[in-house]
């Protein structure tokens, strides 16, 4: 194995003189305190990011404090990998897949590593494949039960070509490292397969036969998303917004409510207290879709803003690779990354230390390519066995100064299909979620297969109704501008009616109280009911005598609708408010 010695240090960029071959993105370990002065003995993990002659430039995933020239470096011969095996659900990892719960002290001491899964645990294995079967990477050989999901044991992703099953272990209890199958390759070589495999995180798992266009809508319970701009199973979306606009509250709402089998929350360079909220709440909250505890379907990858910057970049890839593993089992995976801007900033810091020529705002030139490449790993896939699995990816973006023309937002816009723009103006007037109804879009509404799906599952002509609502909001905004310029009296009463109709849609459908147990989560059935009720009112014409009468009428109507939103769907109180609304009309 190649070795080396440290020859230069600037912050976490370290230059190493090597004695043999090294690969780009190869992992290595630096012995801190290697200058022989007895300081420490920490093994610091690092990744090669540039090679010039016999000098490898490495980014260290940890503090380089006290590191001196001459420290020993050992190269590992592989890229950054995740360990994939049963037992990952409900765990909390750092960006390099160390289990945070297993770390003993209050502080994360430098160089600490912990096992990502329990290697001693026994799993009840049931074989699925039979000897003689022809298999490829990702083929299901057997299964175990991991909390509430059926966890498939697959032909490792790293095995290329076709193999023949020689034997599969009988049903029984096994450790993840025990051999559960033996495969023969075309040349007759034998390969033992256990329940654990490793995969380099920066490489996409390709163990699928095709990537069809997504067609099914994923319910999130957030009306401004599901009704107005739905995301699909296997879709991609992003949420840019200035600070204070409610990105995190929205992401948490989605992570609690979304109709997915597995949720991966990647806290990437954000506040630790936000992750603590998940640690504190998820073990108690119930998944509205299944009735199980939320934590049981969740994996947290947590590299908060004060954790090492280089590991921040790794964390999004770690999350994606784990997501791809569960997708290959035929599951619906949802990955939420907060925030991808912090990841881009980590790239910028490194690029800067490497003295690369900068692109816009000092970001690396290939930022756009890196982001598209990453988003393209999400999607719906058809697996070798014929089933489908999906990764839905929603990232937040924190644009500098709230300016959506900055490079990370622009690059992400090219890659993601749903755009949920959070607006400062809406946040300032406490109209939450602050998703701007006019700026935001979902490209999926244009997909014929999505339209057909909504026709069949919600009601025929649904997308057309949604579009009509959007037009009403647009016209309301135009009317508001006219009123601002000409004054309340200076415009026909009809303008006020237009304005108030769009306010009705805004207050009743788009605004939602994320902190109210009932209002926070609206099932599609209820969304359909409420939206139809509101749209029908908006499509009536009223003959108001003056703008004050109009405003008063709609204010009272909005109040009744809001009270209705706080009550249980189809309950007695709900219908009581409905009757009051009908009486008013």
């Amino acid at each position: 194995m190649t070795k080396g010695k440290v020859s230069g240090i600037v912050a976490n960029l370290v230059v190493v003189k090597v004695d043999g071959p090294v690969a780009q993105n190869e992992i290595c370990h630096v012995s801190a305190g290697g200058a022989g002065d007895g300081r420490g003995g920490d093994r610091l993990m690092a990744e090669v990011i540039k090679v010039i002659g016999d000098e490898a430039y490495i980014q260290v995933f940890d503090s380089t404090r006290g590191l001196a020239v001459g420290a020993e470096v050992e190269f590992a011969g592989h890229m950054l990998e995740v360990t994939l095996a049963p037992g990952m659900l409900s765990r909390s990892y750092d960006g390099l897949q160390n289990d945070l719960e297993k770390m003993s002290g209050l502080f994360i001491e430098r160089g600490t590593t912990t096992d990502p899964v329990d290697f001693e645990a026994q799993w009840e294995f049931t074989p699925l494949a039979a000897p003689g079967e022809r298999v490829v990477a990702g083929w299901w050989l057997g299964e175990v039960r991991e909390i509430n999901i059926v966890h498939k044991i697959m032909v490792p992703f790293a095995l290329e070509g076709t193999y023949t099953v020689k034997s599969v272990a009988p049903a029984g209890k096994y450790k993840v490292t025990d051999t559960v199958a033996t495969l023969t390759d075309s040349a007759g070589g034998e390969h033992s397969v256990s329940m654990v495999q490793k995969w380099p995180v920066k490489r996409a798992v390709k163990a699928y036969t095709e990537k069809p266009r997504p067609a099914k809508v994923m319910e999130t319970g957030v009306r401004a998303i599901d009704t107005f701009n739905p995301i699909t199973e296997g879709g991609t979306g992003f949420i840019p917004g200035p600070f204070g606009a409610g990105k995190t509250v929205l992401q948490h709402a989605i992570s609690k409510q979304a109709d997915a089998d597995i949720i991966l929350v990647v806290a990437c360079g954000e506040r630790a207290n936000e992750v603590v909220e998940i640690f504190a709440e998820f073990p108690h909250l119930v998944d509205p879709q299944t009735g199980h505890k939320l934590m049981e379907r969740t994996i947290i990858i947590c590299n908060t803003s004060n954790m090492p910057v280089a590991a921040r970049e790794a964390s999004v890839y770690t999350g994606m690779a784990i997501g791809e593993y569960y997708r290959a089992m035929g599951l619906k995976v949802l990955i939420l990354a907060d925030s991808t801007s912090r990841w881009a900033q980590a790239l910028r810091e490194m690029s800067n230390r490497l003295e690369e020529l900068p692109g816009q705002d000092a970001f690396p030139m290939d930022l756009s390519a890196i982001i598209s490449n990453f988003y393209s790993r999400a999607g719906l896939v058809r697996l070798p066995g014929g089933d489908t699995g999906s990764i839905t990816f929603i990232g937040t973006v924190s644009p500098a100064g709230g300016n959506l023309k900055e490079p990370v937002t622009e690059s992400t816009k090219k890659a993601a299909r749903c755009f949920y723009a959070l607006s400062q103006g809406r946040a300032d007037s406490k109209r939450y979620p602050a998703i701007d109804p006019l700026e935001s879009y979902s490209k999926y509404l244009e997909y014929p297969e999505v339209q057909q799906y909504l026709d069949a599952t919600v009601e025929p002509g649904w997308v057309d109704r949604v579009m009509r609502g959007k037009t009403l909001v647009q016209r309301g905004k135009e009317a508001a501008e006219q009123i601002n310029i000409l004054g309340d009296d200076g415009v026909p009463v009809e303008y006020h009616e237009r304005l108030w109709k769009s306010e009705l849609i805004d207050f009743v459908i788009l605004q939602q109280d994320a902190f109210d147990a009932t209002d926070a989560y609206t099932r599609f059935e209820r969304q359909r009911y409420m939206y139809n009720m509101v749209l029908d009112i908006c499509e009536r014409s009223f003959a108001f005598a003056g703008f004050e009468q109009c405003a008063e009428f709609f204010k009272e109507l909005i109040n009744l609708f809001r009270q209705m939103n706080y009550t249980e769907f189809e309950g007695a109180e709900f219908h009581n408010y409905r009757k009051q609304i009908e009486a008013k009309l």
Partner: protein
Amino acid sequence: MTRAFQKIYTRIDNITKATVTLRAAGVGNDELATVGGRLAQVVKISGEEVTLQVFAGTEGVATDDEVVFHGEPPTLRVGDDLAGRFFNAYGQPLEGGAAPEGEPRQIGGPTVNPFRRLQPSELIATGIAGIDLNNTIVTGQKIPFFADPDQPYNQVMATVALRAQADKIILGGMGLTNDDYLYFKNVFENAGALDRIVSFVNTTENPPVERLLVPDMALTAAEYFAVDKGQKVLVLLTDMTLYADALAIVSNRMDQIPSKDSMPGSLYSDLAKIYEKAVQLPNGGSITIIAVTTLSGGDITHAIPDNTGYITEGQLFLRNDSDTGKVIVDPFRSLSRLKQLVIGKKTREDHPQVMNAAVRLFADAANAKTKLENGFDLSDYDERALGFAREYSLELLSIDVNVAIDAMLDTAWRLLAKYFTPAETAIKQELVTKYWPRSGN
């Protein structure tokens, strides 16, 4: 801090305004050194060449000055004898007296494992309704004041600190004017609180780069009291804009490519490392950070307030309210992200809805004001909103208010009932039934 066989170097190869470079062996990254009697820190090692950042600047440093390496990064001796003392950025006593004698700790230490943190849940009452009612602060939170340089942010911060009932208050002053330094000293002394206070101060008279040590010094002391002693510690950092300016100076002199607003590309991580030290610990101890970020011309899109806003758990804006002549906590732009953890839970059930309704109606008043300024007639509703806004500013938003939270809520209900109908407030019916003041009362 001397070690056996300490090697003295006497040949400096390069000198820039802030750094010196020399050939030395066995030097560790981040290590401290003395260059001609001034403190310096290793920032770059390339083979045998070591670059040191000299905190006090390099004016007068000669190529034959003595350079001695200390063998360790900056440390602070932590112990109970820190209490009641004022220190400079290096942790040396400012007004004579013995140096602290506790155990030396490296500043800028490791991160608390997020999994070991607790969710902040203890309210900090300040008596200021603009904070307690609209933007409740919680232990373990980090929140800055975004203020223009002419606003009384240091006074408000001192008031908050003294009312907050913290076990220790740690002041990290960066680029503090001498007058402000004396102000803090007097206020703390007069309140009889000096024994609860530890200060690390870099004034405008000191070299700017020294400021870079202040937050880490203050937070190392804070971690000692919170982690080792289980105390509730409040850290005041003023002014973080001057801290960031010092970062930019160093980065510039190290020939780094600047990103937005001439700030270093690592500004976000640099600030996060400081603010993320705010924590609620399982032993009951906590570190709460209240900071000041001064704005230029109220521009929050500048890189410093912008990055800060993404890190901190909200921000508090001060504003002069021309209608009442008071300094108020701006209800629109201020935000405390952690208030959701306590309002309506640790405070009365009606808190969230009353707070939102009042702010929304205050916004209606702002719209009415715009209409008035544009020469349009006001409706009856507009008139009522304006009346409400005036009293709301005076009785609740003004920073000179000092009342308990229940009294703030009662005041808010009284004002709502005086000017509006229940439907106009859009508050949940059950709360209206319970709290809406009967007419005539």
